[in-house]
Subunit: 259 residues, 2 copies
């Protein structure tokens, strides 16, 4: 149960920030963690200091467009400056994959084929997805055991939830029957506003115990860390952002032990 | 010069908030304004109170998949509760268009074909685009005379600019040779942080006079207004958000007169 997709088609809700910082916080507890960047913006790749880098066999684009199984899947993996944290990098060419994957056989299973070979090497695999419900996100949902949904407590983000839940139901109905929600994370939370409180109430009513107790506050150190190519737990370990993602990692591991 | 696409493939930077509130602020000055929702999330549609509604001839999905020119293009247009503000609504089915448009003839010109017929009826046409650089955004760039780029002054948003500028250059090189930047708008600005100030400096250096003097502050009334289906200029006209978008409309009109 160790492949998790961080997804929400609403833009700017904290998907990449969550994928990077939860990955780093889990690595700090001793887990071997792989971060997979499935967004053509390649923000997760640059956020861990690997901007513009390619692994021996290339980037995630190359992994998705293979014509036969890779001899050594670890050739798609790059080490980062954070101990026990590795990444499969993305690059600009990934934007073309939405269209180029369409005629390929088993187009929704391309990522799963590679990640299933890598499962034994890692305790946790986290996939960062783009803000859309196209073939790249579909590949991430088919490759995953669970989905972690970052949610910004605002009206448009709430509106998008119905689409996401609908897409997950369709994926569960065919391509990946065991897919389930790992958790819902409230991000950039501003509980001083009525709007923030109202939306948080609605979300807890709908997702109940799936909503993490840990809530990520708005903290500028989280926005600064990527420009240094470092997770916030390395960039500023005493910041509220680092503390929040460390507490999320603890809650995440507790849930895993309970399974 | 009256078709403007509000675009930035980075998610959550304020594209929809800008499209809705600039449209409403322009309508308040006496302009007849059409808002076109090209995002499958349909946030612009619900933000002006038209959630789930279809025009006589359907939604923007129907306009894009026509097999012959529409007898009456105004059949795609809905009135809103704001005077002189109309909308071409989007719906969930638009998500399929990214793939369904691919085999159609002149797939990048489908939106342009409809909007060119509507130009005489409106002073300004504003297009809200999704957070991606696929066929829907491409259609919006080909249909437009100018591009308005909302920018959140943070690292990932700055990183994405190079991709956006590259895509615009490719569109200018073939599909739409006269496409130009109308302006760059700094949104959700927090100039108390070093990060905000640093990024704003970089953006002004790169885009120079294209950057609007008007800067949109973070203001919770902007996030609340869509849950009431109203532009902020109607929901709370005295708020800092409403004032900022009203001053943007003034600056926008001044630039138009200068052309
Ligand atoms: N808790 C937080 N406090 C402050 N800033 C944050 C926080 N979380 C994310 N950010 C910043 O907000 C912006 C959006 O976050 P991020 O890029 O992680 O969202 P995303 O969902 O991955 O966006 P996209 O939809 O474009 O992939 C980024 O500039 C990020 O640095
Ligand atoms: N100046 C502002 N102050 C406060 N909240 C804002 C501001 N501008 C936008 N918002 C809120 O921030 C969130 C993101 O804005 P918006 O949805 O307009 O961005 P977008 O670029 O259209 O996102 P997407 O990439 O998903 O289309 C929304 O919840 C919106 O209400
Ligand atoms: Mg992201
Ligand atoms: Mg939007």
């Amino acid at each position: 149960m160790n492949v998790i997709t961080v997804t929400n088609q609403k833009g700017g809700v904290g998907k990449t920030t969550t994928a990077i910082n939860l990955a780093a916080a889990l690595a700090a507890t001793g887990d071997r963690v792989l971060l997979v960047d499935m967004d053509p913006q390649a923000n997760a790749t640059s956020g861990v200091g690997c901007k513009g880098q390619r692994a021996a066999a290339g980037t995630v684009y190359d992994a998705l467009t293979l014509t036969e199984p890779p001899a050594s899947p670890l050739d798609f993996v790059l080490a980062t400056s954070t101990e026990r944290l590795s990444v499969i990098p993305a690059s600009r060419e990934l934007a073309g994959a939405e269209v180029e994957l369409i005629p390929l056989p088993a187009r929704e299973y391309r990522l799963k084929a590679v990640l299933d070979l890598l499962r034994p090497q890692f305790d946790t695999i986290l996939i960062d997805s783009p803000p859309s419900l196209g073939l790249l996100t579909l590949n991430a949902l088919v490759a995953a055991d669970r989905v972690l949904i970052p949610l910004h407590c605002e009206y448009f983000a709430l509106e998008g939830l119905a689409d996401l839940v609908g897409t997950m139901r369709r994926v569960r109905g065919g391509l990946n029957p065991t897919l389930d929600v790992e958790g819902v994370l409230l991000t950039m939370n501003d509980d001083r506003t009525n709007l923030g409180q109202q939306v948080a109430r609605d979300v807890r009513e709908f997702f109940r115990e799936k909503v993490y107790h840990t809530v990520i506050p708005r903290n500028v150190r989280l926005a600064e860390a990527p420009s240094h190519g470092l997770p916030v737990t390395v960039y500023d370990p005493k910041s509220r952002g680092a503390e929040a993602y460390t507490s999320l990692a603890t809650e995440f591991l507790k849930r895993r032990q309970a399974v």
